[in-house]
Amino acid sequence: MKRSRFPMAVTASVLVFFYLPIAVLVVNSFNASVYGGRWEGFSLRWYAKLAGQREILHALENTLLIAVSATLVSCALGTLAAFALHRYRSALQRWHFTLIYTPLVVPEILMGMSLLLTFVAAGVRLGLFTIFLAHVTFCISYVAMVVLARLQDFDFSVIEAAQDLGANAWVTARRVLAPMLAPGIASGALLALTLSIDDFVISFFVAGPGSTTLPIRIYSMIKFGSPAMLNALSTLLLVVTFTLVWTSQHLITKGEQAK
């Protein structure tokens, strides 16, 4: 029987549609030409030039600061939320779950706007702190969901087993709970980190003077800066994002194999 070529063709088109623009971007970042379009030879000049841009470095600093702090806080809160959701079942917990789940489906523009209105109404000055708060709100949800998924098949009787063998609460937390949940928490953390570094819409709403993040900087560079330098910057961002997502996936699958 001759196999139809159709599915293969569809797959190929989809992949091209998704990845061609990215490939063009990456290739162009090594193009000596100022405007792309035509290949004028391999060059790292845009990367070199990037390193000299004070504003970009400052934006990168802001982004990393926010990403790391938001990740840490949302990891702690998200893990606790997941624990509570898993351990106690009640009507209140269904509301809790809905609350945690909502940020995953609400349009970003809505979240950005409502956060902005809240901050303004509360008289909080817009800046790094408001971006941090905004990122924590949505990162908690992602962390909680990832950790919750890991907890679904967590057998709590191992905690009793550890106590039975002579481990007190602290030793149990350190030698049993932490290692067993670490892959889940870590993959949640990496996801939070990625989302925070990437976020544009929400950050754009709640950013203030001097708190420009990298995605916002890139947006303004489209208007004023050189597009070639943008390609280089985007490629770097791409590498970082891919690494984080890949590591996170790897941790999840590894965690599943360990069972």
Partner: protein
């Protein structure tokens, strides 16, 4: 020997459920002691109180003269084999077995390693030592759980239905291994099960539980041959129940009974139930004799006439159901010379059924809960299990 573990008037309620209801037991040192009862009768709850995971509402627990009622689990010299083993999935077999010694910091590392090696060989897991539990079979997991607990040399080892998750063949093998291990280490075992066969074959003594209470404590043979209640009689093995009344005492040890349809029966009466009281006469299926011809019998025998309703040939033995004066009697007979019997008994044969007065036992009061068991003796425990 002195009492080693004393459970004194211990109760535990969950909302309106009396999971364990004023239980008092004493266990001797080195004993293999079973808690036997249907699912939901409170065995696990009692065991969890011994391990320290549940606090009793009333009562005290003493181990080797020391009150341990308020001690948290990690401070008790008692270890548990959990129903689902609860192995630590992120540690290897070796690390699982070493875990207790490591966290208790009882000895230097080198000695721990040596102790673990010895334990690995005792539970025959040397070749699996570096595997994670996820890769082990059910029987191997079970051995890790046993090794992990025994290495701490607990004063008491608690086992919660340790064989329930295994298939029949493996269960029999592990049964023998557990017995062997108990003989080797000499630790007191408290073994929870709903399987009377397991309890019978392993135990020095058995406590039969029902509805959170202890019905009877005794050696396996005592529990089988002289049950104290209709629940015990029905739960341990099969039995026939006949409802009736005591007519009069005969001598010191026997009574004459009136059971509807039958002529007067004589029965051993060690409980001295006085005349006029309602009783159950319980007779195990294997205690009956069955034959087509009326034999010559001593006055200590009872005999009734009936008709064979059903026969099941089981190889080593045959089960008969005989309809006699409105009673359906279940009988099992071993036969050493089945084919040599001149005339095997067949369906609808008229037969004589007889038994010795000493082979029946009388049970005085029965509770409402027992009543269900009385109408359905062999199956009642089975239906209770599926509910869980």
């Amino acid at each position: 020997m002195a009492d080693f573990l004393e459970i004194e008037d211990v109760s535990r309620h969950f909302r309106n459920i009396r999971a364990v209801d004023h239980v008092s037991l004493t266990v001797r040192k080195g004993e293999f002691y079973s808690l036997l009862g249907p699912s939901g009768c409170g065995k696990t709850t009692l065991l969890r109180m011994l391990a320290g995971f549940e606090r009793p509402d009333t009562g005290r627990i003493r181990l080797d003269g020391r009150d341990i009622t308020d001690l948290p689990p990690h401070k008790r010299t008692v270890n548990t084999i959990f129903q689902n083993y609860a192995l630590l999935p992120h540690l290897t077999v070796r690390q699982n077995i070493a875990f207790g010694l490591q966290v208790q910091k009882k000895m230097p590392r080198k000695e721990i390693d040596e102790a673990v090696d010895r334990m690995l060989s005792l539970v025959q897991l040397e070749s699996q030592a570096d595997k994670k539990p996820g890769l082990l079979s059910g029987g191997q997991k079970q051995r890790v759980a046993v090794g992990r607990a025994l290495i701490l040399q607990p004063q008491v080892l608690l086992l919660d239905e340790p064989l329930a998750a295994l298939d029949l063949k493996l269960r029999q093998k592990m049964l023998m291994e557990l017995d062997l291990i108990h003989d080797q280490v000499g630790i007191t075992f408290i073994y929870v099960t709903h399987d009377q066969g397991e309890a019978m074959s392993l135990s020095d003594r058995i406590a039969v539980m029902n509805n959170g209470r202890i019905e009877q404590v005794g050696k396996p043979a005592e529990i089988y041959e002289a049950p104290r209640s209709s629940f015990v009689a029905a739960f341990i093995g099969d039995t026939n129940f006949f409802e009736g009344q005591v007519l009069e005492l005969v001598g010191d040890e026997y009574s004459r009974l009136n059971i509807s349809g039958f002529a007067d029966l004589v029965c051993f009466n060690d409980k001295k139930i006085s005349a006029g009281n309602p009783v159950f006469l319980s007779i195990r299926p294997e205690k009956f004799h069955i034959g087509r011809n009326r034999p010559e019998l001593s006055p200590k025998h009872n005999i009734v006439r009936g008709r064979v309703e059903d026969i099941i040939y089981l190889g080593g033995m045959t089960k008969y159901w005989v309809q006699a004066e409105g009673h359906k009697i279940s009988i099992t007979r071993q036969h050493s010379r089945f084919f040599l019997d001149e005339e095997p008994i067949r369906w609808n044969d008229d037969v004589w059924v007889w038994w010795h007065a000493d082979d029946g036992f009388m049970l005085e009061r029965y509770s409402e809960a027992d009543e269900n068991l009385v109408s359905l003796p062999p199956d009642a425990s089975g239906t209770a299990e599926t509910a869980q």
